[in-house]
């Protein structure tokens, strides 16, 4: 059975045609989203002279040093001093500048959290926090550099906007949108290369999740690097007869409640997939929404209550339960629960009710 391209939206044909392979992303073009930021901020900076870039001695790693080469007077490297950088960004914003402050997610959201909360979010200043090494994407560096909590932490701060692009195309659009948005905004990048998923017409709008695959039996709501794995999972599940919707929830906050509640109504079961701890992130946000409006069966894929370790990115996320097989397993589980929950009464469209997937033990 080959892939049916008509159920996909904004996904590049090169990606779609490989989705039923064992290793669908082996030979597709990839880029770490941190580098997409470094490219986009050059264009944003050229278009808007109020944009300034702040770094804390990891500009070589994020490649914001290129902004420094192009606009030396608008680039400020604070050295290894994240707390000073964040509060200084707040000060700049009070004067009308639009600072993009860059460091790794652990340092942006934890080392400098008090500054981020009290000096940036409480006064609702127009500071953009651009953090690399989000989730457990920085494999080899190990737990101290793996920002597995950044989304949860940023989500719980009042006045926050939290953006997590899945690929470079959507990331660049997000940077433009953040520059235009008035108020604090946090964006989290991958350290490791992730597939270029989208065509140029991908419609990025802050707070508007994107349905990238149609489906009627269940929905996977994903963000960051797990969007790609969710597409692969959906295609594997299609072989078992399940029609799976996939939503790229690139803005964790504000959550696109409408799109998610619609998916809940129409598909009756939801899996969330995030490279972030399962506490307080996407799984929590969706669960909170469903429990108040439409408590259907739901499963969460995410980093469990543990720290990860050093290793190559793909090996680490597999060991810690985040890649395609785990999303497939969660989907099978939620499908079985859905059957029991609705007792066959959930309005479903299609023709292949008889196939009930068996857990693979993957």
């Amino acid at each position: 059975m080959s892939v049916n391209p008509s159920v996909y939206h904004y996904v590049r044909p090169e990606i779609i045609e490989r989705l039923d392979r064992d290793d669908p992303f082996a030979d597709v073009e990839k880029q770490a989203t941190r580098y997409a930021y470094a490219e986009a901020i050059l264009e944003v900076g050229a278009a808007n002279p109020d944009v300034v870039v702040l770094d804390a001695d990891v500009s070589k790693s994020i490649k914001t040093n290129l902004f420094g080469e192009r606009f030396p007077e608008r680039w400020f490297n604070f050295g290894v001093a994240e707390q000073n950088m964040m509060a200084a960004a707040a000060g700049m914003a009070t004067t009308g500048l639009i600072p993009f402050a860059s460091t790794y997610a652990v340092f942006a959201t934890m080392r400098a959290l008090d500054q981020v909360r009290n000096s940036i979010h409480y006064p609702r200043l127009n500071v953009k926090i651009a953090a690399s090494h989000g989730g457990i994407t920085p494999g080899p560096d190990g737990a101290t550099h793996q920002g597995q909590e950044d989304l949860s932490i940023m989500r719980c701060i009042a006045n926050s906007t939290v953006i997590v692009p899945a690929d470079s195309v959507s990331c660049k659009k997000a940077i433009w949108a953040m520059a235009e948005y008035e108020g604090p905004a946090y964006i989290s990048f991958t350290r490791d290369p992730v597939p270029l998923l989208y065509t140029e017409d991908y419609p990025f709008e802050i707070g508007r999740a994107v349905v990238i695959r149609e489906g009627s039996d269940l929905t996977i709501v994903a963000l960051r690097d797990l969007v790609a794995f969710s597409l692969a999972a959906a295609e594997a599940l299609a072989k078992e007869g399940l029609s799976v919707r996939v939503i790229d929830c690139h803005t964790l906050k504000p959550l696109d409640e409408e799109t998610i509640l619609q998916a809940a109504r129409e598909t009756g079961a939801i899996v969330t997939a995030e490279n972030n701890v399962i506490f307080g992130g996407l799984g929590s946000a969706v669960a909170e929404l469903l429990v108040e409006h439409n408590p259907i069966p739901m499963e969460r894929v995410g980093v469990r209550d543990q720290f990860a370790e050093s290793g190559p990115y793909l090996e680490v996320i597999h060991k810690y339960g985040l890649d395609t097989p785990f999303i497939i397993e969660a989907a099978r589980k939620v499908w079985v629960r859905k059957q029991a929950f609705f007792g066959g009464k959930h309005a479903v469209s299609s023709d292949h009710r008889s196939v009930s997937p068996t857990p693979s033990g993957a």
Partner: protein
Amino acid sequence: MSSDFKPMSVPELKEMAKIIRTDIIEMIHEAQSGHPGGSLSAADIVTALYFRMLRVDPENPGWPDRDRFILSKGHACPVWYAALAERGFFDKAHLRTLRKLGSILQGHADMKKTPGVDMTVGSLGQGICAGVGMALSGKLRGKDYHVWVVVGDGECQEGSVWEAAMAGNKWHLDNLTVIVDKNGIQNDWFVAEEMPVDPLNDKWRAFGWHVLEIDGHDMAQIVEALETALTIKGKPTCVIAHTVKGKGVSFMENVPAWHGKAPTTEQAEIALKEIKEAA
């Protein structure tokens, strides 16, 4: 302390430092990831500590009365792992597993995974604060162990380093010695241009510390300074060690790009040859 270990002489330490440098290059080359520059700049200092100064017992890494060592600039942990392995804390075979899945040798040192590592590090500017805590505990409990901390000069940009410096002065922590690996380079660029920290010696002095300044690659000077630090009473000591980032490998020396980059096989061969043939 295991009986067969004898503190090394200066010529022996110099030979050992070559072995440590060899391990560093082999380890980072095998991992194809890691931080050679700051590992090599600290190699002579860490060698002097582990093979002459530290009262530690590889057979009993948790010995409560041991001296403590913290590499606060935790990204340079290959130098730490090399010293621990050569000193017998674990089998040298582990060095080849650096940064791989399941390894006891994490990308940044992890006290729960590696025998002999006294503190988990990796987020700059925290190891030194943990050192203050260990020194305070030593005072409280009347222990005579000494706490040794190595920090980077880039790391000295973190405010928390100076919070630790204030505390060391307040509590007269003469059981604490901080060695600044002053190699002049941080991740992005040269410290003096990116965010100047000089005059470091005056800063530490103004914070109430006894300050010594040495050539961090002259083994005799290192040993003399570390031994002097043990004799200073009533205040903590800061040894400012002037070093060269990438020391011992010509193409890495003083080049910011070698902060966090692994050598290719060809580069590693040249590096190992240079280390072997060095005086």
